[in-house]
Amino acid sequence: MISLELYNYWVVIFLMMAGFYTLIVSNHLIKKIVGLNIFQTSVFMLYISMGKVAGGTAPIAAEGIETYSNPLPHVLILTAIVVGIATTSLALALVIRIKESYGTVQENEILELDHISDTGPQA
């Protein structure tokens, strides 16, 4: 029952997990965001893969076409892409502020600085 019929999903899952891995393991905040983007984009591909119909065309009504791919995943993913860019821009803005107030964007250094201020006086 395991066949190549699902190859598209599996490749997409691999990409998704590579993005997820980058997101978790990276020490640099911007690389984390890139990982997040890859993770999300792969999820979008998962959705779009589910919407594809063999022999279908893009869901724009035209003369002489019988089969269309499913438009609903497209709509959902349009929304999700917008959510993705919104999150990315907010995250990048946060990174800029973090750089300005900590002087670094390496997670371990930020944690060290936080540790110092945890033990020092608190605002």
Binding site: Y7, V12, F44, G55, H74, V82
Partner: protein, 327 residues
């Protein structure tokens, strides 16, 4: 799926895999950001192969365009290189990722085969969109009719998300207005770029308008148009200067317009409510439901375009104005 499409699909997926591996392994942030732009472009191609033209359009404009620009602006501030770090254990993350991936693969085992037309996903809700939307809503692009009418409320949420991101960016790094004279009195001249930009910008804006108002018939719509429009201004900012661009489209105007765009969308819903329909029920906007749908979709797409264009420009200005401070 025809064999040529299959072939293209497999080639693109392979390229995606290589790009991803390169991103995971690379240390140079600049390379990582550019590769992530490439990743977006490749995935946009995949979306085209899988018939999602609207999505491909958006992904190319957003993932490869705006988000790469914003990331470049950010690494311009934070620096291009990652420092060597002490060795952090990669085992725990790897275990988490492998388990997650395994659960997903396990989940796909019972899914219908890729592109199977008899899959349940194509049976229940989707047929009505495909069969009836051209007559019920009256426009050929089913994605637009689902987006703007059947699931119009989601799209309103999407506009609000963009608005919320704009608020967030604005709160974090607001736009720095430079009152004093710029330090570099005369920026190095870039005649070729400036002439070309002047030539291109009208075309870009024309294209944005086309995408905005042609979204009912072809791929496109308010969101894509908004992004393209903002790209025109971004190009102007990059080739001339931020002061010039902000004289052209002052931030305080953009702020108002972004809010107004949301209100146009919501206002359409409120008007349809006052006219006796439900929220966002465009059928009551005109005597004929089909005409009502047409007007409704046109108006809300305009609202979407307005908010997205203004929000993107504002976000871009905010990022750029931070960059100049610490070069």
């Amino acid at each position: 799926m025809s064999s040529i499409n299959l072939l293209i699909d497999i080639v693109l997926l392979t390229m995606l895999v290589f790009t991803t591996i390169a991103i995971v392994r690379s240390r140079s942030l600049f390379a990582i950001v550019m590769l992530s732009g490439i990743y977006s472009l490749l995935s946009a191609n995949i979306f085209i192969i899988l018939d999602a033209v609207d999505v491909a359009f958006t992904e190319a404009a957003v993932g490869a365009g705006i988000s790469t620009v914003l990331m470049l602006a950010t690494i311009g501030i934070t620096g291009y290189e990652q420092k060597k770090r002490r060795t952090i254990s990669w085992i725990a993350p790897m275990v988490v990722v492998v388990i997650t991936g395994a659960v997903l693969v396990y989940g796909t085992l019972d899914m219908p085969a890729f592109t199977d037309p008899s899959a349940p996903i194509h049976q229940h809700v989707a047929p009505r969109y495909i069969n009836d939307s051209p007559t019920e809503v009256g426009i050929p692009n089913m994605v637009t009719s689902v987006l703007a009418s059947y699931r119009g409320y989601d799209t309103m949420g999407e506009v609000i998300v963009v608005f919320a991101a704009m608020i967030g960016v604005f709160s974090l790094i607001g736009i720095r207005e430079k009152k004093s004279e710029p330090i570099h009195a005369e920026p190095p001249a870039r005649p070729i770029l400036q002439v070309m930009a002047k030539f291109m910008i009208p075309f870009i804006i024309l294209f944005a308008l086309y995408v905005q108002f042609h979204g009912d018939f072809g791929p496109g719509g308010g969101f894509q148009a908004g992004v393209i429009f903002s790209v025109a201004i971004i190009l102007y900012t990059l080739t001339f200067s931020q002061q010039d661009a902000m004289k052209l489209v002052p931030p305080w105007v953009l702020k108002r317009l972004a809010s107004i765009g949301v209100l146009i969308y919501g206002g359409t819903g409120v008007v349809s409510m006052l006219k006796g329909g439900n929220f966002l029920d465009y059928s009551v906007l005109a005597h004929d439901p089909i005409h009502g749908q047409h007007y409704g979709i046109l108006i809300i797409e305009f609202g979407v375009g307005l908010t997205v264009a203004c929000a993107m420009m504002l976000i871009f200005f905010a990022f750029i104005s931070r960059g100049d401070k610490n070069p």
